[in-house]
Symmetry: none
Subunit: 211 residues, 2 copies
Amino acid sequence: MTATTDQDAALRIAAGRKPFVEPLRLGERLKEIRLAHQWTLEDVSRRTGLARSTLSKIENDQISPTFTAVQKLINGLGIDLPQLLSPPRVQPRTMGRRDLTRRGEGQRHPTPTYEHELLSCELAQKRMIPFKTIVRARAFDEFSEWVRHDGEEFLMVLDGEILLFTEYYEPLALASGDSIYFDSAMGHALVSVSDDDAVVLSVCTRGESST
Amino acid sequence: MTATTDQDAALRIAAGRKPFVEPLRLGERLKEIRLAHQWTLEDVSRRTGLARSTLSKIENDQISPTFTAVQKLINGLGIDLPQLLSPPRVQPRTMGRRDLTRRGEGQRHPTPTYEHELLSCELAQKRMIPFKTIVRARAFDEFSEWVRHDGEEFLMVLDGEILLFTEYYEPLALASGDSIYFDSAMGHALVSVSDDDAVVLSVCTRGESST
DNA sequence: ATGCGCTGTTCACTATAGGAAACGAGGTTT
DNA sequence: AAACCTCGTTTCCTATAGTGAACAGCGCAT
């Protein structure tokens, strides 16, 4: 098992189980949009080039539109695909969630090189993944491969001193209190150089396009 | 041959002509993904439930997949739709940026209640905003109003002890090493309760909708 | 070489999406 | 009320997406 896989796994666990396939009430959504603009089927037909009947069937889930049809829709209606697919244009989820993690109470994920402690893992659907890591690795060659994942990462050294190896830069020494922000698609790896294992706090961005 | 039908047809032809819409090289993109994972058509077939032949045709733009087919794809491949549709834009900017901030070298922004130190402020276009804050406020009533901004916020106490006031919850005591994740649209405010001013590290998400 | 196993493509057929026109339900005009 | 409009739905029919099987190409083993 490679370091990459380890961290990927941790991130994936943090990301939580996939909600599998949602029904994706496309027809319903289309009708919402149409009525919101007070358009008739004929209006939409003129805008999109799709037949009135076709639109009716799509709205009532009697057919599954072709991808070209979907394109005509998003194009003709002047909306983009996410808009068409996110039926519950809900704000509610943005308000008032909270997730406390007391010192040392995160969810631990040990690997040969790192010991991760996932923070705030009660909350699903969040846009950042924070975790504290004890860096056990002492030499770069303990990594079989670059650690690498989509998105961006912010990192602050809480304790000890580390060397940050990155794919495109010289190794960088970071002491307690130093912080760095980088694209995490660039290969990276941490090594402790202080007497005790170093501790860092990381925050990764979630893969985008969350609906 | 009624005038209505003629006009309808004319409009539909005009709309149906596809001059500008179709930058979506879906087949190409699918092939990219498949090869990136070193999957064979048969593998993808098993994952998605679509026939090998169908997949081949989709990859070669010989057919326009049904929306249900697209769903099977994104579902079976474990990707989401934006991923499937956005081949070109993601790659360029994601690779290799880096921004180091040594301890205490951030950009300071003092306010009556807080003393912020912005970290990694060299980098534009990043998805998280990290900053270290010295909490000067000693009582809740030093705030004239809730602090409130779009997005989400992660916060870890680095030093001292604070009280986190939030709009929808009771005040929460946080000691060094405790962390919390919350929707920052919910009003919030920090107060130091330790002898020295407390220090916290915060990371906020950037507003979305970059498009 | 011959045969085997695997790849991706192509064929022939079935299932279904898309379009034109007919239909039925309100609403407005006369 | 009948004669319309205009709306959305439904009914054919044709165009095409989706499938399984056959095919051609390639590496590998015998």
